[in-house]
Assembly symmetry: C2
Homo-oligomer: 462 residues x 2
């Protein structure tokens, strides 16, 4: 079953590859006319995908063609930031201003935000006053807030209008609007009053007033709501767009579900990278070797420092080690079992926090559960190892008990700390995802090794 | 800046807690009337959130109240599977059939799919023939395919109708449809011909024929398309719903964007868990200690076996170790640096595959980049450690060189393997996410330790 589905997915991946090959071939033959036709009938999102896989020289040539099409604006807004910044280097601010003016203003603001500040200001100077003001309005918000996500192109009407009047206004005006499927209704003073879907509007008699057909329990967010929270609202309530209000409850924009999907994907990618201690730059794959190494180096440094501490600790037990050399052989398994169960626990908790399944008022319950899992698995794998080493390494006789107890102790400790640390980080407003990075796992490693040597010292009376 | 946003998010979390407390308090006082009112005005998705945090006894009491409201069907469809299965144990199949019949048929099919087969069949027997057939139709598809996701409640009309006729049909019929914002157009023989949005429909003269106003380039998926691919299509093209066609290109359902958001979140959660070697059960937090331990045990077993192999390897170097006891102290840092850089590389690649950023035809480029990063970071941290140990552990004199070289070698090897393994898994249609689990990191640990002792043996001429 799984097999067939995967093959299907591969096939669609292949369609992308076919398109990429075709673009490359036409470009090598300098078949500009054919390329133009091809780009024209390709969705800008697909063109952006192809573009990502071209080399720098090809990109510059192909962009010359894309620039001639209607969809150049949409194409730019689909590009990865790193590629966008690379491609605009060669273009004049005038020309860029022309393209950006034609884009939806939220996309235009996003592009300007991604560019180097100086270039962005140059472009803004070349824009008409009205367009510039609209974009500047959006640029004032933090890019990770509802204000930074929203589009100001929405449809809102006063509550005293009738359904018939509303429909005829929509027929005249909705061309410039983004995704009209909800009509927002406001009070006479401009405050948000309710919402009605286009479909519901059509199902009401033309003479009814909007205030009598609208749903007054409209879910809204404010301009400074964090984008993760906006995503939560949209997905929790299955809505297609959420209105954004300012401090005076006036409607200033809407965030549509397509942008929410991007937010969810981007936040997941950031969380993945953070959990692996690889920074949180979503475009790390597009970075150079040096940039990638620089993003990853700090986390490895934490691990390096931890390793040096382990050297110091083990060296301090040199005497014990010299008496029972076999102790060295068990270091990897004690670290490995502790590290792996800690990663399991912290990943489950971190993801639970991200998806709202871990309730911060139930910390004790969650931690005790992980501790119990650690106890259970610690007993099993500790016993396993104790028995195995009793049979194969019975000199000294108590070695089996030492390593069994150590595995048990380090797994219980690791599972418990693995659960506690993300919760503590979250409580103090840090990113819980850091908890699974090298910093924490390394600390758990060190504690495990220390515990092991102490147990050995005591039980073997070294 | 970050601080303010976080505080905001916390506040909304608090609203959930306030609701939870209120429900608990009213329940303790057996204030049924108040509870009923409260549930009635709460969104079913929020009620489901509260429900997740109640204990078993409270759940059974509160469900008695929820069952009296109109939204009980929607509430059930928002529940986690584990809780759904728990709550239905107490209900009669007749009663469940009654609720399920009132639900949207795709939600009804999802609920039936989640229940134990025997109970699901009991419920099906109590449903009216027409309802049962509709649900059975959906149940025939794999739950992870477009067929398993789709809703059969869509609006499609023949292309020869006029805009005016279409609008009046929508006004009469759309009540029972899910999220009508696209109208699908079919040929006389029933095959999918095009799509038009409700807004575009309104903007055309009533006498125009649908075939002249529709967009004939309609993006569709087939019933057996994998749900991940459906999510990809919806997010790539920023659409609100995608039509699902059968093998004859007849429209049989639509997948709406709200379901896509769930798919994206669920797939990310599964990927997280798999990467941590914690199974792939999204509801692991709701499982008992035993169930959770059982899901995690196999992965830890891989790590345990790896640890035992490390014991064997280190023991085989006992003689060398007895001559240079200090070698033991460096085992943790060599394992740690290798393990951490491998996790970084494989996470970056795994996420790149999931988001379509890693192109399977560019494997060599991607792997060499990771190898270069490994070389660069290996030189840096190897040099660091070599110098530090030269000054503090200069007996034997070459120990610094041994550990420096070992860190370097194990990091290059780990970064390279960390990149190669997910790509190989993907190539052979396995889940790339397994690559970051304990199995692979443990193998890398073992290789690192082996490499270290060999280098020591050679350089120190032990």
């Amino acid at each position: 079953m799984k097999k067939a589905e995967k093959a299907k997915r591969e096939l669609i991946g292949n369609e992308g590859m076919v398109l990429l090959d075709m673009v490359r071939r036409l470009n090598r033959r300098s078949a500009t006319g054919h390329l133009l036709k091809l780009v024209d009938k390709t969705h800008p999102a697909d063109t952006a995908w192809v573009f990502r896989h071209l080399n720098e020289e090809e990109r510059s040539q192909i962009f010359g063609i894309i620039a001639k099409t209607e969809s150049v604006g949409e194409f730019l807004s689909e590009l990865d930031e790193a590629i966008l910044v690379e491609i605009v280097q060669e273009l004049s601010p005038q020309y860029l201003a022309e393209i950006i003016t034609k884009m939806a203003s939220d996309d235009a603001a996003d592009v300007l935000e991604a560019l180097p500040e100086e270039l962005a200001n140059d472009i803004r100077r070349h824009m008409e006053k009205k367009d510039r003001e609209e974009v500047d309005e959006l640029l004032q918000y933090h890019p990770e807030s509802a204000g930074g996500l929203m589009s100001p192109d929405f449809m809102s009407l006063e509550q005293n209008l009738t359904v018939g009047e509303a429909i005829s206004i929509i027929q005249r005006k909705s061309e410039e609007m983004e995704m009209v499927f909800y009509l927002y209704i406001n009070h006479e003073d401009g405050k948000l009053a309710g919402v009605v879907s286009l479909r519901e509007l059509l199902m009401n008699a033309p003479e009814r007033e909007l205030k009598n057909v609208m749903n007054p329990n409209v879910i809204s967010v404010s301009t400074d709501t964090d984008r993760g929270e906006v995503a939560h609202v949209v997905s929790q309530y299955n809505i297609l767009a959420v209105p954004v209000v300012d401090s005076g409850y006036n409607l200033v924009g809407i965030v549509t579900v397509d942008d929410i999907i991007d937010v969810i994907r981007e936040e997941a990618t950031e969380e993945f990278l953070q959990m692996a201690g690889a920074g949180k730059d979503r475009e790390i794959l597009l970075k150079s070797t040096f940039e990638s190494a620089a993003l990853r180096a700090p986390w490895l440094f934490a691990s390096w420092v931890g390793g040096v501490m382990a050297i110091v600790i083990i060296t301090s037990f040199e005497e014990e080690l010299s008496k029972v050399l076999a102790l060295a052989a068990f270091i990897p398994i004690i670290m490995g079992m502790g590290g792996n169960i800690a990663t399991q626990s912290s990943t489950i908790i971190v993801r639970g926090i991200a998806t709202g399944r871990v309730n911060m008022n139930e910390i004790a319950r969650v931690v005790f559960k992980e501790m119990r899992v650690g106890l259970l698995l610690g007993v099993i794998y500790g016993l396993f190892l104790g028995v195995v080493s009793y049979f194969f390494y019975n000199d000294p006789k108590m070695l089996g008990i030492v390593v069994g107890l150590s595995i048990f102790g380090s797994m219980v400790m690791a599972a418990t700390l693995g659960a506690i640390i993300p919760l503590v980080l979250k409580r103090f407003d840090f990113d819980a995802a850091i908890a699974t990075g090298p910093f924490v796992t390394t600390s758990i490693d060190i504690l495990g090794v220390m515990f092991y040597f102490y147990i050995a010292k005591i039980i073997l009376s070294l």
